[in-house]
């Protein structure tokens, strides 16, 4: 670093650097993983428009259980913004839908993480978050994109998909958490059982 500020105390010279904590690095790493999964999903064609497995939400769930709500919220929101930028959808309807779904499911996750852990595991949270996700999206679709009652015909299909993929994602998140396979390590360790 070029020392231009001789007369200033040492702290002032260092303010040009953004101080990053281990927490920041962890968020960045996990958000990158979520973005990668989001990208992967964007490439894979879906049989029905709008019905997606939402595999990036596995990361959100994993982070929620492992590192708490704040970290999960960061990862989720960063994922929505970064992937929309990468896909060229920033501020487009797709992005708004994605953001609405992410925000509402984060809200529901925040509420449901207070459920007794003994009885409610990742599967519960995953299913509830998936329903919240589609609820957020359908509200936007109904109010803004297609302001017509015919949207109601989509609801059962989308809800069924949410239930199915919510269950699958919840099970995967559980496997990742409790079989101690670290998703940030490059070397996958096998389970200890």
């Amino acid at each position: 670093m070029v020392n231009l500020l001789h007369d200033k105390p040492i702290d002032a010279r260092l303010t040009m650097q953004i101080k990053t904590t281990i927490e920041d690095h962890r968020i960045a790493k996990l958000a990158a993983l979520a973005i990668a999964l989001h990208m992967l999903e964007a490439v894979v064609p879906s049989p029905l428009p709008g019905v997606k497995p939402g595999i990036a939400n596995i990361v959100t769930l994993y982070v929620l259980f492992k590192h708490g709500f704040a970290c999960a919220a960061w990862v989720s929101i960063l994922r929505v913004f970064a992937s929309s930028l990468l896909l060229g959808q920033f501020l487009s309807p797709t992005f708004i839908l994605s953001l609405a779904g992410a925000l509402l499911s984060l809200g529901v996750l925040w509420l449901s993480m207070h459920l007794p852990k003994k009885h409610f595991g990742t599967v519960s949270l995953s299913i509830l978050a998936a329903f919240a996700h589609i609820a957020g999206q359908l509200i936007i679709v109904r109010l803004w994109l297609i302001p017509h009652a015919s949207v109601a015909y989509l609801v059962p299909i989308v809800a069924m998909a949410a239930l199915f993929f919510g269950l699958i994602n919840g099970i995967i998140a559980h496997k990742l958490l409790y079989n101690e396979i670290s998703i940030t390590d490059t070397s996958l360790r096998g389970s200890h059982h």
């Binding site: 009885h119 595991g121 599967v123 519960s124 329903f131 015909y153 059962p156 239930l163 919510g166």
Partner: protein, 144 residues
């Protein structure tokens, strides 16, 4: 967490060990409840939003007024004087359709037979519309 658990495994008697292990089951009691509630919700949504009840009556509208409501349980041709000419609405076997219309594009005629509650056929040039009505009125998208 892993170390904590392994310490517990060593020190605690067997029945507690199995209890700790069972806490990490994929599906816990609450999960089953949430899953069941989800299945019920989806079933109710399908039943409520995809119910295509058979219709019992057809309502014909002319402009902004209701021209008449007729039972579908009859065989009948109804001649209606619309904005640009005379149209014919046919009722047969619990179904209804526009069978003749003076309009240019004939969209209303090509829509064919309507049989389910909530279905509608519109003829904009002639300002006529058909809407099928069931026992209980469905979500009304025409009046939205």
């Amino acid at each position: 967490m892993q170390t904590l658990r392994s310490i517990c495994m060593f020190k605690l008697p067997h029945y507690i060990k199995t209890r700790i292990k069972s806490k990490t089951h994929v599906m816990r009691a609450g999960d089953w409840c949430v899953l069941t509630a989800g299945i019920v919700l989806v079933a109710v949504l399908f039943q409520q939003l995809w119910s295509h009840d058979g219709a019992t009556r057809v309502q014909i509208r002319l402009g902004d007024t209701i021209y008449g409501t007729y039972s579908l349980n009859q065989q009948r041709d109804i001649h209606v004087e619309g904005a640009i000419g005379s149209a014919t609405v046919s009722i047969m076997n619990g179904k209804a359709r526009f069978s003749k219309s003076p309009c240019h594009n004939q969209y209303c005629v090509h829509q064919g037979w309507l049989s389910r509650s909530g279905q509608a056929a519109l003829c904009l040039p002639n300002q006529l519309s058909l809407e099928l009505i069931g026992e209980t009125k469905n979500y009304d998208s025409l009046n939205y």
